[in-house]
Amino acid sequence: MITIDNLHKWFDKLEVLKGVSLSIEKGKTAVIIGPSGSGKTTLLRCLNLLELPDKGTITLGDKTLNITAGTRLKQAEIVSFRKQTGMVFQGYNLFPHLTAAENVMEGQVSVLKRSKDDARKKALSLLEKVGLRDRADMYPFQLSGGQQQRVGIARAMAMDPEVLLFDEPTSALDPELVGEVLKVMKDLANEGRTMVVVTHEMKFANEAADQVIFMDGGVVVEQGTPNELFHAARNPRTLQFLNKVFER
């Protein structure tokens, strides 16, 4: 489903991704972990072209982008590639002038050109799925952080993307609200959605991931099943990181 080969990204003089390669199978959940500044967010944003990589190849679904120094992507190319993904943001980024249901309808109507009725039907069923059917007509400011993030997930799913991308979806939440969001994500993982999740929630990684990817310094240092990575990591940088997060 996703193959990344030798991906590079610079911010001015700073090389943030230094040749990332990895692949994720259809229907699997990959969790990306790693220290702050290691390039996790940047990698995720390269997958939906919110950041444009400087070099490398990304294959997503049936589309392949081969990027070299001279590549200038057109807006139409970016949009059609991006439409295969849905993204859930750390800060939710709901549209404040729209209700929960309208947030979930917006892309369906303006991008997918579905009728308002169909879009609302789908929005309500997605809100039902994330446990917010009764909050459909509330505005974001009337919702808790956890509820807002669940609307964010419904909004991303409404576009029927091939891949769902999550960038630290729970790290802005109060601890008691983390669980409700992780539960929704776990359900999605169990349904066989393809997901790429950047998170510090090791318990989620352990329970829901098919693949854990450890990044450091702009490269993938080590990856494997949760079991392999958490219990049989070999690379000293991985071990050092895991020892820190598990306080062992």
């Binding site: 939906n48 919110l50 980024n93 002038h97 892309g107 400011f141």
Partner: protein, 227 residues
């Protein structure tokens, strides 16, 4: 003290001048305000978008325009267009000259308000719009502008109300709007105090009505905002 006879005379003059002044307001002040505000807003919107576009020639052109019209007095702009242009063969009616100058002037000021409002919308809103497959113009139209409108309504409303009052400057280029009319009547009746107070009351009423509509619009675009 004002004697009884004088009081009657003043009341008589105010009564007689009421309709001529009201008509001047309805005929010139209000249309001038509404027309120039509408045109100015359209101009301001395109100017703001051009300045944000990043397309260098457009950015430079609109910056130059805003620089000129914000950096010179409205009165001088009126005089250049109305009294100055005929010397190069462009003669405009007083009303047309007033519309052009007020529009360009309002456009310049309001474009800065709109530009600031658009830039005040958090980058995450653009990204969320892109993430559901929107193009740049869809994101602008559907997500950013509705929020920017809410942000810009109070300052635009203020600028609208100041426009009502600024239209009195059109008197200087012979538009017989509200103030000019008052001036004419004051000149023949020798009651400047009471006539100018009457004129002031008309402006007060006009701008109060506009503030009311501004309030209604703010409520309408305020949806989704914590009170």
């Amino acid at each position: 003290m004002v004697g009884e006879e004088r009081t009657e005379r003043i009341i008589g003059i105010l009564g007689e001048s009421f309709f001529p002044i009201l008509m001047a307001g309805l005929q010139y002040t209000i249309p001038l305000t509404l027309i120039t505000f509408t045109l100015g807003l359209i101009l301001a919107f395109f100017t703001a978008v051009a300045r944000i576009s990043g397309f260098i020639p457009l950015v430079l052109l609109t910056r130059f325009y805003v620089w000129i019209f914000r950096g010179t007095p409205l009165l001088v702009q009126l005089f250049i267009i109305f009294y100055g242009l005929p010397s190069v063969g462009v003669t405009l009616s007083p009303f047309a000259a007033a519309v052009i100058v007020f529009t360009l002037n309002k456009g310049a000021y309001s474009s800065e308000i709109i530009r600031a409002a658009i830039l005040s919308i958090h980058k995450g809103q653009w990204e969320a719009a892109y993430s559901i497959g929107m193009t740049k113009s869809q994101a602008m139209k559907r997500i950013v502008l509705p929020q920017a409108v809410r942000v810009s309504l109070p300052p635009l409303g203020n600028s609208f109300i100041s426009l009502v009052k600024d239209t009195s400057l059109a008197a200087t280029i012979t538009v017989t709007e509200l103030f000019q009319k008052g001036q004419q009547i004051a000149a023949v009746t020798y009651e400047p105090l009471w006539l100018y107070i009457e004129v002031a009351l008309f402006y007060l009423i006009f701008s109060t009505v506009l503030s009311y509509f501004q309030g209604r619009l703010e409520i309408r675009y305020g949806r989704g905002v914590a009170k």
